[in-house]
Symmetry: C2
Subunit: 502 residues, 2 copies
């Protein structure tokens, strides 16, 4: 290697938050700007004591920085592990060769194992700008990744992160492909499985395009921001956990890819399978049950697509050494009544407490999933899993286990409603014959979910409900009046039905 | 409409240059941050006296801003037309509905006229973030746009900008699809056509993925940053111009799309046709000649692709009311000897001055293009255009016209070499049988072109050259030693040939 040009700079904290972007602020008249400067965003490598990261250069034309000073965006301070007063050195960034593989994908070519490894390694090392990540995500979206590419992607994503190893031979996990509002079975399933004596080190994501992810809902109850070490401690004590933070360590690139998918509001098949299975593999899971809700307005719209997903999950799982069983479930309407973190949390409490009026659909679905998991690994004989799960839930043991897991994670809080609400009532009489899950999700998001945990929808008009004029269909909760108003404006402008009554 | 939340803030200039990104810096404890805050980049609308733009919010956690103060990235100050001390108001941004059309395209669906109009209008209004622009570019890249979509895109791009109108019935223009290093015919052609008495209000782009665009080369000679009014003045006086700046007004979205294409190093067919023809239409051109070089390492690799491009240009042109004639030309090797802004400028001067040793290939190609244009509109009879062009060039009238155009644009400077150089010599004897245009372009870019105008390659081993050991193949010019070294490192690591000698 030739010698790289290098510049030493002292850090000043300007305190600028640029979200996920690593930014280096340097005087426009400094060496580094005049040698690197261009009309294109320039990316350079900076090094602290032990680490180096890639940053985008933002020249500064005033005296908020003096000669020899530099600043970083808040996240870059964190990632580089430096503080105000520390010294950094700046060096030229070599061309990122994996970008030619991304371009090849954009032009419709198939990527091989090596290309995908290189891309994921470069993404993991922070070499990709948001523009480049977006191009990679877009080129792989739709059905542009075939099953070999998905397998390569899954392996590459699992390989760049940390791995968990367990003493037990059986480690369970579950996942729902999503798209069904309120379908928050995971906390109930984890409590049942852990109480049944199996390991279930569950890590869950936040919402990508939905009003709540399991991590958002669990955060209503407890601390979900666990390190990998904390996950191990909680699971050692409780057999199960419901964590979020550790995911970033298990499959670190997933977080970066998901943040761009979220910004684009897309959630594509290949990426989703790789995201799910790379984390399960890295978490040391051996047996996984996948819930695939199918419905006209769910994420998966028809059974043929669901069967393809089943096949993909099984095939990619097998090449990762995992046993994967997928269930195709009813996705025609929300599960439970709440849509949004706290509202879903309330449903979970009701089911776990065996409360009168607890949503039966949520209870039944959680039992079916837990039962399938127990059947997959259990010694009680096939078909006995459901019975075992039911016994654990109805005896109250699952509720105790759930609270115990929460407490071990650091806290147990009861969910709260947001302050503002508006009831949406029927104009007509008739029977509920169709529900638009996507519009319900959109409404819950406009109302502030998941950012405002108490925001969302309390839904009380499932399919088949006989309604009279002025009967309540759902209630919208929001944490401020503006968000409530935006939501009502959206509903007023919606020409198609949200809940169809005939 | 419901009332929007709004906040008044006084502007301070922090002087932060974030390239093309509109950034609003606001205290993290301000209303606007606490009400909009999230883990996703938040985009809001800000308004000055007469204008409003969309910006990305960057919260600031130190006292570089006081209560009630805000700052903008340098480009946002420009775009909003405000200064330090001015007041802005901040308001909520409504959801960008055209993004669902982009998502639909990502999933492989065809976009209709209306969808494309909406997308381009939103891009033009600055509503798209870089991530979103990148997704749109990527989804349309490869051959993902069909001819109807390209036509819609061209119309939409031409419609959002300003339009030029001319008194003459015939307004000529030319364009090269590029990919061939050194192929800088435009300045010569414009001088000939203007001298022949036809209007040719030429606007040219900077390099997208090449070592130089015509605008980069012309900037070596003169000011290219003309406003639309200045273009009109120059053309009124000279019949022709060689401008860059006005392009942004003629098809303003093109610049935004190209900046993302440049960052991704892709230059796709549909986008290219729309980019070219939207500008020609907006510039009031009526007759256009397109140069399509074809070669193994040119942008267009085989004649079938070139024929498809011919058809696309003609079809889309026709639906815009334009006469478009495309020529398929030899793309097997560079044209002229220089690759890089100033080095190409030297070739142009040599041809225009009819200097001994001027590159004949550049001269012949420029004459062929000018001749075709004259035939397309001329009254001298088909086939006489070439003769007329030759007479204008060889008499020295084109050289006078060229200098006159430059002077009218504000300046006339002679091109200069960069300070550092290295000669690359042959190891063997034989005949040059193949040249890799892409590697040559890459070398010129690594050497600093187009950012450093004097950087690039002087190439002196065209196809068929008989070479002896130690004979010079090309010379690399760079403006600093580091760039020269990077370039040599790349050449040393290149296993395939750049110039193949047998």
């Amino acid at each position: 290697m030739l010698q790289q040009p290098s510049n030493s700079l002292i850090l000043i904290r300007l305190g600028i938050e640029a979200y996920r972007e690593n930014i280096l602020f340097v005087r426009a008249d400094s060496n580094i700007c005049t040698s690197e400067g261009s009309t294109l965003p320039t990316r350079v490598r900076i090094s602290g004591k032990n680490k180096s990261i890639v940053v985008t250069l933002n020249p500064v034309h005033t005296n908020i920085l003096k000669d020899g000073e530099a600043s970083l965006s808040e996240i870059a301070f964190q990632r580089l592990g430096v503080m105000e007063g520390d010294t950094i050195t700046v060096s030229h960034l070599s061309p990122i060769t994996s970008l030619s593989d991304v371009r090849s994908k954009i032009y419709g070519n198939k990527l091989n194992d090596d290309s995908i490894k290189k891309i994921i390694s470069d993404v993991n090392n922070g070499l990709y700008s948001d523009i480049e990540l977006s191009a990679f995500i877009t080129a792989c979206a739709g059905d542009h990744l075939d099953i070999d590419e998905i397998t390569s992607l899954t392996k590459a994503m699992a390989a760049v992160g940390k791995q968990l190893h367990w003493d037990e031979k059986i480690v369970l996990d579950k996942h729902c492909v999503g798209g069904l509002p309120g379908n928050r079975t995971t906390p109930i399933v984890v409590a049942i499985i852990a109480e049944a004596g199996y390991l279930i080190p569950k890590t869950s994501s936040r919402a990508i395009t939905s009003p709540a992810g399991t991590a958002d809902t669990m955060e209503v109850f407890t601390n979900v921001n666990l390190t990998l070490e904390q996950v191990q401690e909680v699971v050692k004590k409780e057999k199960g956990c419901l964590a979020w933070g550790a995911m970033a360590e298990l499959s670190p690139t997933d977080d970066m890819l998901i943040s761009v998918e979220r910004a684009l509001d897309i959630d594509s098949e290949g990426q989703m399978i790789a995201s799910v299975l790379s984390k399960k593999a890295a978490a040391g899971s051996t047996h996984i049950v996948i819930d695939i809700p199918v419905g006209k307005t769910a994420k998966v719209r028809d059974e043929k697509d669901a069967i393809k997903l089943q096949y993909y999950f099984k095939y990619v799982g097998k090449s990762m050494g995992l046993v994967v069983e997928s269930l195709i479930t009813d996705g025609s309407q929300p599960i439970g009544r709440g849509i949004g973190p706290a509202l879903e949390a309330m449903d979970i409490v009701a089911v776990l407490q065996n409360a009168t009026g607890a949503p039966q659909d949520l209870k039944e679905k959680a039992l079916m999933l837990a039962g399938t998991m127990l059947d997959l690994v259990g010694e009680t004989g096939k078909g006995k899993g459901l019975e075992q799960a039911k016994q654990i839930l109805e005896s109250g043991r699952a509720w105790n286990k759930f609270q115990s897991i929460c407490t071990t994670q650091g806290d147990f809080k009861q969910p709260q409603y947001a302050s503002f609400k508006k009831e949406i009532r029927s104009m007509v009489s008739g029977t509920v014959v169709e529900i638009d899950n996507r519009r319900l999700a959109k409404i819950a998001k406009l109302a502030g979910a998941p950012k405002s945990p108490g925001a969302g929808i309390y839904f009380c008009a499932p399919l088949g409900t006989k309604v009279l004029p002025q009967q309540m269909l759902f209630t919208i909760y929001a944490e401020n009046e503006n968000e409530l108003n935006y939501t009502l404006e959206f509903i007023a402008a919606t020409t198609n039905h949200i809940v169809k009554i005939e």
